[in-house]
Amino acid sequence: MSAQPAPRPSAERRASNLQKRVSVLPKPTSIILDPSVLIAQHAQLTGTHPITIGPNTVLHPHTKISSVQAPVVIGEGVVVYEKAKIGVGIGADTESESRRSSIAPAAGSRDSMRGDGTVLGPNVVVESKAIVEAAEIGEGSVIEIDVVVGKGCVIGKFCTISACCVLPPNTTVPDFTVVYSGSQRRIDRTIQSRPELQQAKMLMHAKQIEIFKKLIPNNVAKWT
């Protein structure tokens, strides 16, 4: 980490001139961690905007959280699996051509005027290799493996985005929706009409977090 007592260059310039020597680790004051967070080894938190992580969150190894362009807020009980990437601008190097077949038709105008930034609600699960640049993800939602959620998307609560789906930027997904088979959607009425199923799901989620806490060595000291 380069210690520069002289006046630092502005945040934008630092972020854009990514040389190997210049560290992009956020300043210690811009990461706000709850003490019960579990951050595994090889997880990366980069960027200068504030990153807030709620209690009981689990970040698996090799996850990347980037607040280079906008702040990131992660709610409580969120589980982020290996090689997932969260943050606006983080998926810039993915080849969107290879995913043409599974891309849903893009929404016309911007569905929501939201400020830049990524907010993950409580108990969200982001599975391996997913890229989440969304503006907001509601509580209890599951973003499955290899999903690309574009910038500015708003996803409701208890949604499921099935594996390998691609959500173009600025789409809105209402509550309790299941996005499957690339671009098809349906409302999951089973879980919508039965709150006890929602509670059961959250119970299982809490149990899973307990097991992660026992199995994954915690490297949170590096970031506090």
Partner: protein, 571 residues
């Protein structure tokens, strides 16, 4: 079968025309057969397309000593099983219950993925039986709870499902339906009598109108019962004709017995049988279209939106394909799969038989053409660059250059345990619009037997032809006519020279459009094998003793192959 170039297809000559020649046509059929032999095989002929297969697709019948293609084998079902639960279903049950799984295997009506039986139990307060159960789809998250169906136990889903309609209403069993039908018939009779007598409407009529419209199962059963009564009521035209008498039907039996019974029985008036008619009432299975149901459907679409309707694929998979909305969906039972064995069409010899254990993919009997027919494969002959020079670009089979002779190595490998003599024949120009000139430089050669490696090493075998010594002065390999290119233990390779033709004749002024795939260069090659093999047990005469083991029999096999070389690039 789009394979990358170069490929080799084998032709199976299992013509239907040869077997169905009638007596009057025999002369013409023979002529035609002779014509076939003399004509070169034309791979562009639409008919020949159906007889060409890669070697891996062909089986071989040892009794007929012939190739058998997928068209000339008979398949027979060995066993039926469900792909989700891997449970074997005996064929008698398949005949009675149908070709779907009758245990717990259901597919989601929305996304067709297999559904799991899940419990709606509260994990903090578990109930005794495990709570109500539902079928839930793990992919699109549809569940039977959306249509209001819940099960009491997690086994026997089919039985429980047949008793519950969407929304939780119970479906009556066939016995109850029978009773219902009888009861309604009585009401009908009573009502018609009432009308004749001019009385007021009985209250039972209102009750009948109050019932919901009969569902598809009811209609089907009513119709089946109606047709049965019609068949029974049909009196035979001639009592003694063997066709009409149905001895299993009690009414015709009793009629015959009456004739032979006591002579004092009064003569029954021959009633003229009413002709068979179609169903005329709802009770008999007639579906009367109600225009108000259409209006109701339109209102429903207006209210719930297009998302609540079903796609044609989803409707087709349902047991009742006339439904329109997603609340009428039923889980679809998994279709059963079969394990099949194959037999030769003419001699019924078993060619392939899988193991009867469902989870094993092995075969008990496997008679493949790969083990009896030599494999021909083509490779381009590129000059090896002298050491130190940069590697040559790989040969592009998709861009053959017209008019420039290209050399290819044809590799023939022998799978049988005897040495064979191979004769290759091809016409000098390929048939079709684009005529390319083909020359096989060594049409007759021998290929060694497929012996063990040790046998070969111990015995003094043919000295391998050294290719390096054949290099000419300029580094290009010397190609000599009449000599093979290379040889190994059980393979030989020879050189073929091909001059691809021109796609468009430069002399012709008209612009002829080339058809699809006419620029593909395909060479039909006639392969003839001669070899000596041990006499098989069945061919031996009755008087032969076992002492004549060393007798060898000359055998000959011949077939057409088509070697696809590549695409000719437009100039």
């Amino acid at each position: 079968m789009a394979q990358p170039y170069p490929y080799t297809y084998y032709s199976c000559d299992c013509y239907d025309a040869k077997t169905t020649a009638g007596a009057a046509k025999r002369a013409s059929a023979q002529l035609q057969a002779e014509d076939e032999d003399e004509r070169t095989f034309d791979p562009r002929n639409p008919r020949s397309n159906f007889s060409l297969y890669p070697l891996e697709h062909l089986l071989y019948c040892e009794d007929c000593q012939q190739i058998r293609c997928p068209r000339c084998v008979i398949e027979e079902v060995l066993n039926w099983f469900c792909p989700s639960c891997l449970f074997e279903v005996p064929s008698s049950l398949v005949k009675s219950d149908g070709n779907r799984c009758t245990r717990n295997c259901y597919n989601c009506p929305i996304c067709t993925s297999p559904m799991t039986v899940s419990s709606l139990d509260d994990p903090t307060n578990p109930s005794e039986s495990g709570g109500p159960w539902i079928l839930a789809c793990p992919y699109c998250h549809w569940s039977t709870a959306e249509t209001g169906i819940e099960f009491e136990k997690h086994t026997g889903i089919t039985q429980q499902l047949s008793k519950v309609a969407n929304g939780g209403k119970p479906i009556p069993t066939p016995k109850e339906r029978e009773k219902e039908r009888e009861r309604r018939k009585e009401l009908e009779n009573r009502k018609s009598r009432d009308i004749l007598s001019g009385s007021e409407d009985s209250p039972t009529q209102d009750q009948r109108r109050g019932d919901a419209s009969p569902n598809l199962d009811d209609i089907y059963l009513n119709l089946a019962a109606f047709y049965k009564t019609q068949l029974v009521a049909q009196a035979p035209s001639n009592l003694f004709s063997p066709h009409d008498i149905n001895f299993s039907s009690p009414s015709s039996y009793s009629r015959i017995m009456n004739l032979y019974s006591s002579t004092t029985s009064k003569k029954q008036r021959q009633k003229k049988a009413a002709p068979m008619r179609e169903a005329a009432l709802e009770l008999e299975g007639l579906m009367i279209h109600d225009p108000s149901s259409d209006a109701a459907a339109i209102e429903r679409i207006k209210k719930e939106g297009w998302g609540s309707t079903l796609s044609p694929a989803q409707k087709r998979a349902q047991p009742n394909p006339n439904i329109r909305f997603d609340t009428e969906l039923r889980p679809v039972a998994s279709l059963l799969m079969t394990k099949r064995g194959k037999r030769c069409r003419s001699c019924r010899h078993i060619l392939s038989k899988p193991e009867s254990k469902i989870t094993s993919t092995r075969y008990k009997i496997k008679l493949l053409a790969l083990q009896h027919i030599p494999r021909l494969s083509l490779r381009a002959l590129t000059p090896t660059p002298p050491p130190g020079a940069p590697a040559a670009t790989p040969f592009d089979y998709n861009a053959l250059r017209s008019g420039i002779p290209a050399h290819f190595i044809l590799h023939v490998s022998n799978p049988i345990f005897d040495p064979i003599r191979v004769t290759l024949a091809t016409s000098s120009t390929t048939p079709g619009k684009v005529a390319s000139r083909v020359t096989i430089l060594c049409p007759q050669f021998e290929v060694g037997a497929n012996t063990d490696v040790w046998d070969d090493a111990l015995s003094s075998s043919l000295t391998p032809v050294k290719r390096a010594s054949m290099l000419g002065p300029d580094g290009m390999p010397q190609i000599e006519a009449g000599k093979i290119w290379d040889r190994g233990r059980n393979w030989t390779s020879v050189v073929i020279e091909v001059v691809p033709g021109f796609l468009k004749d430069p002399l012709k002024k008209e612009d002829e459009e080339l058809g699809e795939d006419e620029d593909v260069l395909e060479i039909p090659v006639f392969v003839r094998l001669e070899f000596e093999s041990d006499v098989s047990a069945e061919d031996r005469g009755l008087g032969d003793s076992l002492g004549k083991k060393g007798e060898r029999e000359r055998r000959e096999e011949a077939f057409w192959t088509v070697i696809g070389v590549g695409k000719i690039a437009p100039m």
